[in-house]
Symmetry: C2
Subunit: 139 residues, 2 copies
DNA sequence: GTGATTGCAAATCTTTTGCACTAAA
DNA sequence: TTTAGTGCAAAAGATTTGCAATCAC
């Protein structure tokens, strides 16, 4: 067993922050590990904060909000708009869409190749398309 | 010129409320006229309230909120989720989608036949599709 | 009359902000 | 050091709620 067999998640997350020009502070590192190690996920600030506290990570809710927005600006996260009352963030930043379960407020990914738009109108004059968001609401 | 030539918008709006099982109160009638007479539009509670006041219609912001939700439940309006901070309501309740201008927070309709979804995954087991919302974000 | 509707002010909820303190480089 | 980042509490903005007064039927 060589020394290269062990995964080095700490370093991966650390590099991801450095690459985004964000100082790897204790709080950012802890939140990044919760978000980026393990499978993709959808979080709200509130949920991430509660989880952090459960994991004995000292971080304020304001910092969770700041961090989620910084990660989003840096392209590490994507904000999903499905609820006019709350913001969701997705660790999956590839091209894809969502199922939204109205009863439980849960989000599930729809892989990019499973939902195909056949025809789309041109953007209004003077504008460019920034993103196309598709939400399939189910219940 | 017969007596049938004159449009009777008042009666139309009144009947629309009655048909929805909503008492045609002064406030509901005034708001319904602002919403349903004239071309389709997108409004927030705030905007509708300001407009009402400008038209010397006495109605509280709480009542505007209540009314928008009652109209939505009754199927007279549709709520559009494009911004996780504010609710928009659309008087166009036919099948269609939207352009959202990120700079100005403005919404434009995309007629139903101008955006065609070619392939769509089946809804998760035990759920049914309630609606498919497509937002083309431009700037 | 009587039950639905309204207005108002207070409450709630999510998110942002100001600023003194702390920590990374 | 020096500058970015953090925590806290307060502020802000959107929306809802409780309840007495008012209105439609």
């Amino acid at each position: 067993m060589s020394k290269f067999d062990t995964p080095r998640p700490f370093k991966q997350v650390l590099d991801r922050l450095r690459g985004a020009g964000l100082r790897p502070t204790r709080q950012r590192l802890a939140l990044a590990k919760m978000l980026f190690e393990g499978p993709d996920r959808h979080v709200t600030a509130e949920i991430l904060h509660v989880e952090a506290q459960a994991a004995t990570i000292r971080v304020s809710l304001a910092t969770v909000y700041n961090t989620l927005h910084q990660f989003t600006s840096a392209g590490l996260l994507r904000e999903i708009v499905v609820d006019s009352q709350r913001s969701y963030f997705d660790t999956n930043i590839t091209d894809h869409h969502h199922f939204f379960f109205e009863g439980t407020n849960r989000l599930d990914d729809i892989p990019g190749d499973q939902l195909i738009v056949a025809s789309m109108p041109p953007p209004p004059a003077g504008t460019t398309v920034k993103r196309v968001d598709i939400v399939v609401r189910v219940e």
